[in-house]
Each structure stands twice: as C-alpha cells, then as structure tokens.
Symmetry: D2
Subunit: 412 residues, 4 copies
C-alpha cells in the first residue's frame, strides 16, 4: 500500500540518493526528477543509480534553453542584482527547476514533491514557494526539516552508514570543505570553512573561471546586441563568431567570461530567512550581459523612466532572491519592466581583460542621446540663458531654507 507518488528533485549525489531510499522506506513511490541546466553531471549514470535504488521512473529534462530564455533574459532585461552585487545565478535556476518538477508531478499525478535543501538556506524557500504557487494543493516533503529524518542522520557518519546498508554508491572524491551549487550560469560556494567571513577564498576554489592572474594577456572585444532589453546577438571581433540563438549567445558570453576570469565575487548577503551568510560566486557570462545591458539602458531610457525602472528592478531582485518568481508581484513587476524596455535596442562593445569588463562604446538606432544638443561646440536647439532661470527656480527652496535657518539662529 503506497502512500502515494513523490517527485524527488534528484541531484545524483549522496544526500538525495539517501532521501530516495528513505522515501521508499516511508512507503512512497518515487519518481526522480533531474534538471539539466548545463551543470557538469553524468546524467545517464545518475539515471541508472536512481533506478537501481528503486525509483519508479527517472525524468531528466534538458532545461538549458528555457533557463536562458525564460529566466536569464528577464533578469538581464530588468538588470537584476541583489544587494548591489549578486546576479542571482542560483535564484534564477530554482524556479526553472520548479517548473520541471511540477510538470513531472502533474504527468505522474503525484501529490508530493520532495527536495534535499536544508532549513537554513534560501533554496528550500525558492523550491517550496514555487511549488505551492504553481499547485496550491501540492504536499512538500523536506527531509532535512523533518525530525524523523534529521534526527536519524545527525551527521555525515550516519548518512554514510545508511548508504552502505542500502547499496547507495559512496562519493569517490572527498567532499570539499564547502558546499557547491552549479548550473550553466553560475557556481556558488558556501558553508564549511567559508562560514567565517574573515577567511580568504581558498586557493583553487573557483571551477568556472580562470584565475584573472592566469588569464590571457590579450583582451577580447565583444559586441552584444539587444532588442527591447533582451540580448539578440553576440559577436567577437577577434574571430568571425556571430551568434543569435539565445543559448549560444549565453554560452558565448560565458566562454569569453570564463576564459578571462570575469564575474567572481565574495560577499556577505542577507538571506530571506533573516540570517547573514557568506558566499563566493562566479557568473562570467551573466556579468558581461549585465554590464552591457546597463550601458545601453542609459543611452536609451529617459532619466525619469530609469529612476522608476530602477526602483522596480530592486523590488524584482528581492522577489527573485526570496523565491517569489511565481507571484502576483513578480508577474506585475516583470510586465512593468518589459514596458520600460521597449526602446532599449542597440549594441554595446566591451573589452574583456583579466576579470574586467570595460565598455568601449554603445550604439542605438534610436536614442535619447542627442549629440548636437549636448555638444559644447554647437548650440543646437538649446538656449544657455534658459539655464539661469532654471537654476534660480531650483534655488527658491534652498534660499528659503537658509532664510529659515537664519531666523532660528536669531531666535536663539
């Protein structure tokens, strides 16, 4: 008598393998779901492993293209950045996985989903909020928050013991003294020895980008094209590369960024659950696209529209970071951002060199930049004497303020 079907977000690693077996012990039927987001993983091997452990079925979904088109592009268009530094590499992948997970749950008519995220992190929230939002009646099993599970596995030792008992293959390489989350847009390193914010990032921790000190001595020049705020092309001036397919645009930026050591950060951030945590991240391609978009936006967007858009972008960053991708506020904000970007069309040329992304120039077929108007050499349709009155009226409040201060001083 099964309690029902669970779709498990399966990584192929030790934890979710143990969870898979534990779910079977609890008399669930288990469908293992794996999302291929371009991470370095042997999916065939993982499929075999899950089936061997008793999974009723294994669903491996290639979500790379939807990750780029449906999650990364809106982020680039909005200029999302959390707390001024984090480009949300992990946060963007989560709702993409959730989409695959829920699609699978519907396909198998499963009443449960299960994930291996812990109770102190952001990912539990992104998974669970996403699942609840898409299927309000879903039930979520989160073993690392369930005393039945975590009391049984208080440490790695008990997990290894359990693995041995249940023929769960043990990892062949020793675990890094930190945890890693990887997808094609981003790798994050957290926990373990990194938990002390005063420790320097360990030598050799980065897996996605070349050490800037070892990066090529010759810069690379890149041109990114945008339409309505969304990347539509990348060309490298060094060779004949010119790509227009979303996935290729992203991987090209990634390749160049990785080679030149772009997009490494080491930050302390505020988790949604109220804790501060330290993370080390690398997002090479996303960093390049973020900077290119930002530059073009300044050329194309009216100043006051940009101010409002900037407010919306900050809100949207918080929404995405906090797991509210599938929410009324995200839907609304995203629509507003889309509206703001109608004129953000053109291209930006960038120089990539040893971790740096320099903007060299930008171009837009139609823009608010008016070379004649701004020129110091041409008058254009501009009367300098207007500035006098402009400033005089802007000074009205300031002069009144000074007058009031003087009055108060005299009263003392």
């Amino acid at each position: 008598m099964s309690k029902g079907t669970v779709v498990l977000a399966y990584s192929g690693g030790l934890d979710t393998s143990c969870i898979l077996v534990w779910l079977l012990e609890q008399e669930y039927e288990v469908v293992a779901f794996m999302s291929n987001l371009g991470q370095d993983e042997d999916f065939d091997e993982a499929r075999k492993k899950a089936l061997n452990l008793g999974a009723k079925e294994v669903v491996i979904e290639d979500q790379k293209r939807e990750l780029v088109e449906d999650f990364v592009w809106p982020a680039v268009r909005a200029g999302l950045i959390y707390e001024d530094r984090y480009l949300l590499g992990t946060s963007l992948a989560r709702p993409c996985i959730v989409r695959g997970l829920i699609k699978t749950a519907r396909k198998f008519n499963a009443g449960y989903v299960c994930h291996g995220a812990t109770g102190k992190g952001n990912d539990q929230i992104r998974f669970e909020l996403g699942c609840y939002a898409l299927t309000p009646d879903i039930k979520i099993i989160a073993p690392w928050k369930d005393p039945k599970f975590y009391d049984r596995f208080p440490g790695r030792k008990e997990l290894f013991e359990y693995a041995r008992q249940h023929n769960i293959p043990l990892p062949v390489t020793p675990k890094a003294p930190w945890s890693i989350d990887a997808n094609m847009i981003h790798i994050s390193y957290e926990s373990g020895i990194l938990e002390n914010p005063a420790t320097h990032p360990p030598e050799g921790i980065f897996q996605m980008t070349t050490d800037p000190e070892k990066a090529p001595d010759t810069p690379e020049v890149l041109k990114v094209g945008f339409k309505a705020g969304v990347p539509i092309s990348v060309s490298l001036t060094g060779d004949a590369t010119h790509v227009t397919n979303p996935l290729e645009i992203f991987t090209t930026c990634n390749r160049v960024g990785s080679k030149h050591g772009v997009g490494r950060i080491d930050i302390v951030e505020n988790r949604f659950i109220g804790l501060k945590s330290r993370g080390i991240y690398e997002s090479p391609g996303l960093t390049i696209l973020y900077k290119a978009h930002q530059d073009l936006e300044l050329l194309c967007l009216d100043r006051e529209v940009r101010k409002i858009k900037s407010y919306l972008s900050t809100r949207m960053s918080e929404q995405v970071y906090g797991g509210f991708w599938y929410s009324p506020e995200f839907e609304f904000t995203n629509k507003c951002i889309e509206e703001s970007q109608k004129l953000v069309t053109g291209s930006v040329t960038l120089k990539i060199y040893k971790g740096n992304v320099y903007v060299l120039s930008r171009n837009a077929p139609v823009s608010l930049y008016n070379e004649e108007l701004v020129s110091m050499d041409v008058q254009g349709d501009y009367d300098s004497s207007d500035a006098t009155g402009f400033i005089r009226l802007n000074a009205v409040r300031l002069r009144e303020h000074e007058r009031v201060k003087e009055t108060i001083n005299k009263m003392k």
Copy 2:
C-alpha cells in the same frame, strides 16, 4: 566707479583668464579665487598671471583636507553612486569649491561671484545652487550664459584674439580634443570627440591611472578600517604602510588604485538639465573605498535597515549630482545615513590587481553575522522546522493568487 567686487572661480586657464579681463572691462573689481584640490597646477604661476591681468587679489585655498573629510567621507559612508556607476568625483568637489568661494566673497564683502562653466553642463548648477543656498542674496555672473559675452566669443578663435590683445598668455600645449576636469579624487573627460558615444576612449586619454594592461603583474593587498561608516585607517600588507590621517588614507588608496589601474569607467549619464552626456572618468582611491565600505556594510547592517538606507543613498546621490549639497533634503538625508552607520565598524581586506578590486575578507568587532546560526554543521539557536511554517505562510498570498487565476480562466 566700480560696479562692485566679484570673486571669480579662477582656474588659471585661458577661459577664466579672459573672463577676468572681461570683468575688469565691465568695471568690476576682481578677486581671483583658486581652490587647491590636489589637481596638477602651478598655483604660484597662476597667482602671478591673475595679478598681472588686473586681479585686485588672488586667494588660493588649500582645500584638500576638507575635501576628503567633509565631502568624500560622507559620500563613502553613504555609498554614493550616481546611476549605479559614477562615484561623483566632480560633484563632490563643487560644493567644496563653493564653500571656499563664498568664504572669500564674505571676506571681501563681494556682492558677486563669477564662474566659467557653460550653460549645458552640471557644474553651473552645482556652483550656482551652492552659492544661492549659502548666501541667498549673492549675484552670479556666468559669462558663458550671458549673450554679452558669448556673442562676442562665438568660438576659440575670438577668444585667442582677445587673449592676444590683452596679454593673456596663450596655452603652450594644444588643447586636447576633449575637456578635462581634475581634482585629487577624480579626473573626468568629456566633450569634443567624446561626444559621440560610439567612439572608443582614445588611446592615452587617462592621466591618473595606469593602463590595466600595463599595471603590475603582482597584486597588492590592502586593509581598510572603518568606524561608523567612515574610513579610519589603511594598511598595505606588502610593506609597513599604515596610515590613519584622513588625507593620507585617501592618498594611499589613490596611489595603490592608480598604480593598478583601478576605477576607470566610460558611461552615458543623465545630466540634471535633462540631456544625456558621455563621460570617461577615473577615480582610483574612491573606487577602492566604495567597495570596501559596501562589503563591511553588508556584514554590519540589518537587512531591513539596509533597504531603507539604500533608498536614502540613491536619493543622496541624485542630490549631490544635481548640485543640492547645501539643501534641506541633503542635510536631512545625510543625518539619516549617519544614523544608519553607527554599527558599521570593522575592516575589509582587498586585493588590487589590474583594474580589479577583490574583497578577500571582512571583520567586525560586533556584527549581525552569526557564524553559529548560519552554520550548516551546527544547529545553533535555530529550529529548521520553523522554516516550514514560515514558507507556508509566505505561500498564502501566492496560492490565493493562483486560485483567482484559475477562477478567471474558468469564467472565460
């Protein structure tokens, strides 16, 4: 019969020299005021020049220390950055100069001040608003906005001709095909051939920073200490340098940043007068201090306090950029920021390498970062099962939203 005394913001260059002579022609008495903000200038030579041209007096004020303490420090503490990229190097210098100018005007009982800024830029606004704010009754002469002046000097040719007639020394080096504004914290390049946003920054334009491609191959490690958000020390780990004097802190950061090519940007920005302009800027030391402060702040500031502070910082950036340093809103915002920074005390260690500023670690005697609480290995004072309820309640709105969407779909 003099019309009265004018204090002229004198740069020593051709334009303000011509203005000086022109003011004398208009029957004003002229006091030339020069602010020493660390720019590369022969002040003695300039003094002689102004006196030769007929200035009644020349006042040269060393404002370097007040620039750092009274203008740069509040900016660093607030994390000021205009339109996400510009650290306000010129904008911060202007109110400092205004202070010197007005002090001089008071000393000489002058009813007028005069500046050589044009009618299309931001600096006219920063000068004039500042002057009006500090002395509501001051009268401002801005020749480049006065048809009496600019109709007489429609181009460089007429200015040269005038200079020759009045024994105004002509520049010995040909004018760069762009305009430059320099002070110890920043150099900006604008206008001329840079007005086309699609031109790449010309080779050799930068004067303050080494080309990153030619910068040392060996990184430099720097430790910046802060108290209540303000820098209080810098040490270099490579040598025995440890400085605590504000001016030395700044010049040390500047020296290291310059050597390693830090702080170059090429941007299009929105001027306060409503035009878009393109500028190329370098701010080596300020870039380092901005990044160090940002990192420490995340360690020390509560998440929700930071959100509000971030809003205030954006407002303050707009105020400073727009010339509203001496305004009720700046006074208020600056006080709020000061209040927010009481706990931002500690230090940040940074690696500087070929244009990059990498944070390596951070440290605070008292901080909201709780290593035990965030640890994945220790439970700390945290019950993971609380997260379940937390997420469930955060999902209430999302599930309701989905329910409404389903209802609407059924109604269709």
Copy 3:
C-alpha cells in the same frame, strides 16, 4: 505684415481679453481658443466678445467627455492624490486644454500659443510643458512673464485703463478677493486674502458644494461599479438612477457630492516651482470616486502588488501636478498602473452624508479576499501552527539585533 498666428487660451475674462488686444498690437493674428470643461461660462457671449476684439477666429471645444474619459479616469484608476490631500482637479484639466490648444494650433498652422498664467503658479508649467511636449517647435507667449507686458500693467488699474481704451468690456461684478479656477471636476480658490495661511476660509467662498452644515439630514447611498479600475456605473439606491455613460457617471457623483457638501479641503501645498502656497479646493464627485476605488482596490489587489502600485501612484501624482502629463515617465507609469488594475473589478457601496463618504460594503466577482481562509470560526486551508514558525523566523533578525546591542552594552 503679421508676425504669425497665435492661438490664445482665452477665458473670456478681463486678463485674456486685454492679452488678445495686446497681441494684435504686437501684430500677431489671434485665434481665441476656449475649452468647455463644464465651467459656468456663457460661451456664446465670450465668442462674440473675442470676435469684437479682433480675434481672427474663435474655437470653442466641448472637451467634457474627453476630460472625464482620458484624464479623470486614469487618475481615478491610479488613485492619484498629491501630497496626500489634493485630488488634482486643476492639474487634470490642464493637459486636456493643452490638447485642444495644440489641435487648434495645428489646424491654423499657428507657430505660437499664448496663455494668461502668471510666473509664480503651476499652470504656466502645465501649459508650457504640455505644449512643448506635443509640438517641440512651438513658441510660447506668456505675457505675464514678459516685461514688455507686465511692466506696462503693473496693477489692476492699468489693466482697467487699457480695457477702457480698447472697448474691452469691464467685469460687472467686483472681483473676489481671491482667484478662482473652475471646471466641472473642481474649483480652486487661491491668492489674495487666502495667501495668509492663518486666515480661515471666508464664509460663502465655496461655489460647487453645499455647506455640510446646511446639507440634507438624510444620507444618500450610492453604488459605484468598476472594471479594471475604471468606473463603469453609478446607481443611487434612493431613486432609480443607474448610469453607465462616463460623463453621466461623473456628473452623477458630482451632483450627489455637491448636494451633501463632499470634497472640501483647505491646504498648504508645495508648488513645482519651489514655493509653498495655500489653496482651498472642492472636488465633490472626484472625492467619491477616489474613495470608492481605493476601497475596491484593497479587496482586489495583492498586498505586494499594491505596495508597488502605491509607489507608482505617488510618482504619477507628482508627474501630473508638475505638468508632466505628456512625458515618457507618465506614459510609462500610466501603463504600469493600467497593468496593476486588471483585476480591480467590482462595486462599492457608499453612504454620503454632510461632507462624509462612508464605505458600507464592497463586492467583487473575483477577489483575493477569501472568507473561509480568514474566518475565525472555520479553519479553512490554513494550519495555525504554521504561524509559529513564521514568527520565529521573522524574529531571527530581531533577536540578533538585541544580541548585538547587549554585546555593545557590555563593551562599554
């Protein structure tokens, strides 16, 4: 030899009549434009007057319907209110008039428009910004800001003298000791004896609304229907009134509001030019619609969407007040607001009584209000024990903050 054609925003009053004659003296051809916004005016008489004075043509445009549909409805939908109190009755009428004025200018191929607003008010800005925005090359004649005009007419006496000389009919009733601006949505009273903010509003100043103390002793009950945030119907429960035509909806609300003394305010506000001014306003119908919409919105809008919408609404109020109706930021904000209101459909029942507007109830076919979920008597799909974890996690930051404060206290 005419200097060209001017379209004059003509009110029929003394000032614009004098301006009309003065423009002819300056050798312009004058087309007088009058907008019928429902103000109390004898348009036929005004037409004759303008023709008699020499206007080449008089255009009287009935803009009542467009005022309601294109200007008032977006304001109601957005919940516009300036500085928390002013419903923008005058500000909304200005861009409507500008539209008529520019349409007329195009029809007559006029290179000039002229208005009679003064240099200290908001209306000059709303007129001129609107005209420049719609026709960037238009030239604007503003006699009250032109020394040629205002030096000639330093007071009412000179204006009367001029009127007598040019057969301009003099007003038969003595001028009120304040100025009035009226349209069908609003009357404002300013200037003169009202300039002292400590004077009470004079007895009998209000023209549009009954004194609440003299209003009916019997309340009136009104039901307003909305679709996507826009009013679509009004019914009175007291009689069989049920209207669905936009103009009738508005006039019905106005009628009820006027009768019951609704919508009077006496405020000090911040003008766009930086001055503070005192105004007394009445907006009966708009007040009712504002309150009805606000109530329905809370029923229909998600909490977080509402927060963002509220930010946008404040921005839009500032835009409209400042004369930026025709601007990129208004276009953008208005679109966002429209997007936010898709689900704001339903009706609100209100009781109107002696100046008060009480909400009695509200109803929406589809809403986020879930009676079962909120019920204290039914559990619904809600597990109270989830609240424990929710609060515990929300307390994490607060407890850490307390911990830090204790540490600091101990360090002292």
Copy 4:
C-alpha cells in the same frame, strides 16, 4: 513540580480565563498580567477572578501615559497610516502591552509568556515578535496555535463546558457576533458576521463614537499645538479648555472626536500573514491629531524633505502594523522621522462637525511658507522671467522623447 512560571496576558474574559486554568493543569505557575490602556474594564473584579482561578499573582499596570507618550506620539509625529486608511490603533497598543508583559516576566524571573491570540491574526505576531525582540530567550505559549489546546476546544461549546467544570465565570451578556479589541485610542470590530465584506456595518456596532447623524448640530473648534512634530497642547475655543499634559491632550481630542462621530472606518486590509481581512475601526482622537499634524507638516517641511519623510512614514507604518516595533528598522526609521520633524512646530485650528475634521488655519513661528514670495500681488524676491528658462529646461527631455517617437513612427 512546576514546569516554570508563565506570565499570561490576561484580559479577564472567558478565553484567557480558560487558558489560565489550562496552564495550571499543564503544571505551570501563572502570573496574570493586565495592561490598563483605558479600556472599559473592571480591573479589581478581574484581579479577583484570576486569583480565584489560581493565579500566583496578578499584575495590573496602568500604561495609559506610556501608551500616549511612547507609542501614540511617535505615530502622530510620523503620520503613520497603514494602507492609506488605518491609523494603527491596535498595532500601537500591542508593543506597549509587550513592554509591560516582559517587565513582569523579568520581575518574576519567568521563562514563559502566554497570550490568547489566534493563529490567523496580526496580534499573535505583534506579541511574539515583541517578546522575542526584547528577550531573545523567552519561550512563548500560544494555546490557540497548540493542537493540545485547540483540539480540545474546537468550539465555544467545549470552552463553556470547561469553564463550568472549573468554576470559571461565564459571560453574562451574549457574545457579540463579532470580536472587539478596545483601548483608549481605538476600538476595532472584526470576524463573525463582519467577515463578509459585502455586509454593511451593523446598526449600533460602534461603542466609542456618536453616530454622525446623531452628533451635535453645532461644530466644535479645536486648536492643536505641536513642537517638533509632537502634540504639546489642545484648546477648545468653545470653552476655556486648554491642556498641555500628554494624556489630557489625547483624552481631550478623544472626547471631542467621540462626541462628533469622528474617525470611523470600514476597510479591507492586508494582514501580515498574507490574508485579507475586513475591519471596522474607530479612532476619534487619533484622527484629529493625524489631520492636524499633516497640515502643519506641509507648512513646515521642505518639499523634498517631505517626499523622503513620506517614504519613511510608509515603511514605518508597515513595520508597526507587522509587529516590528522593537526592531532595528523601526529604531532607525523612527530616528530619521524625529530628525525630519525638528521644524514642525506651530498650531493648527480645526473644525469638528458630524464626522468631519476640517482644517481652518495653521500657524508656525518659523516656516518655509513665504507669503510675500507666493503673493500674486507682490513680486517679492522672485523674477517671473526665470520661470521661462525653468520650464524650457524641464521640457528638454519631453521634446527629445517626442523627437524619438517621431523617428520611430517614420521608421515604421
């Protein structure tokens, strides 16, 4: 063997009496805490009742004065209003009660506090967050969220039965078909038949204010004095009343407001837990003070300072509503608000009539209102022709935007 001491927030009513007995059953020692916030309650009777039921001690704290000075005054100064309508009458009382509760817990060295709030409301959050913030290690017992309790008492019947068994006095009057929360500043009515947002407020529900239709026919005129944003006096012009003591200021406003039916609202609001709820509130005195302060603020605060203050006020309203009175963000925001109000000193005269609060006039010894500057009859220190340039420069962006739109149209 006692499990320890619990301080119970005791109301004297049936629920908390049952909870008291139930806690004794669970082998806690119980200290009953009652806060006297001016609600209509026989505290002596309640004390006897609690002691009879087995409370170890009963602490009754008169917190009226601290409620006004430490909670209401900061709210008035900040202009707090939640979702544009709710003056936070209940929200302000909660942290005041928490203070008394925690003080009592410390006095009795109690490790536990207990409250009778349910799991669907806001009050549980305000109580618990406040307690956790002030004493991070406190343990909270919330029976209505504990299955041990609520499974035992699924309805009123079981509660009555339990009361009968334990000699808990049963209420003599039948329970109103809604729940009531009352303190001296506010009464709220929720739940029961009010849960349907389409039902009209029942006849006779209001306990604190006269029905406006039955309120006096003669208005009352009131003058409220403020210093730095805080009320310092109230006088009634009708009699010789002039009070300056905080508690008396508040009760005087309350008395006048109550008599004239001021401060009734019927709203749907967004609870912090994510639900929408309907509440009917009355806050007579607070409404008067809110309106008076708002009016004075516009006279005294610079426009741009007010904008920032307005943002802060909205944040602070959310903080207070959500139970974050004792939080880093509240501390910070409150300090900023205090800073903003330094010049908000003066008085406002109001007319109170049948539910309305009309501002008649305002006065400030020092204010930014400059009667001469704004006068239409006097030029003051203002040059109207400056407005021309001011508008021209504000139009730069708008004209550029139009130019871009035309270009795009031509491209189509």
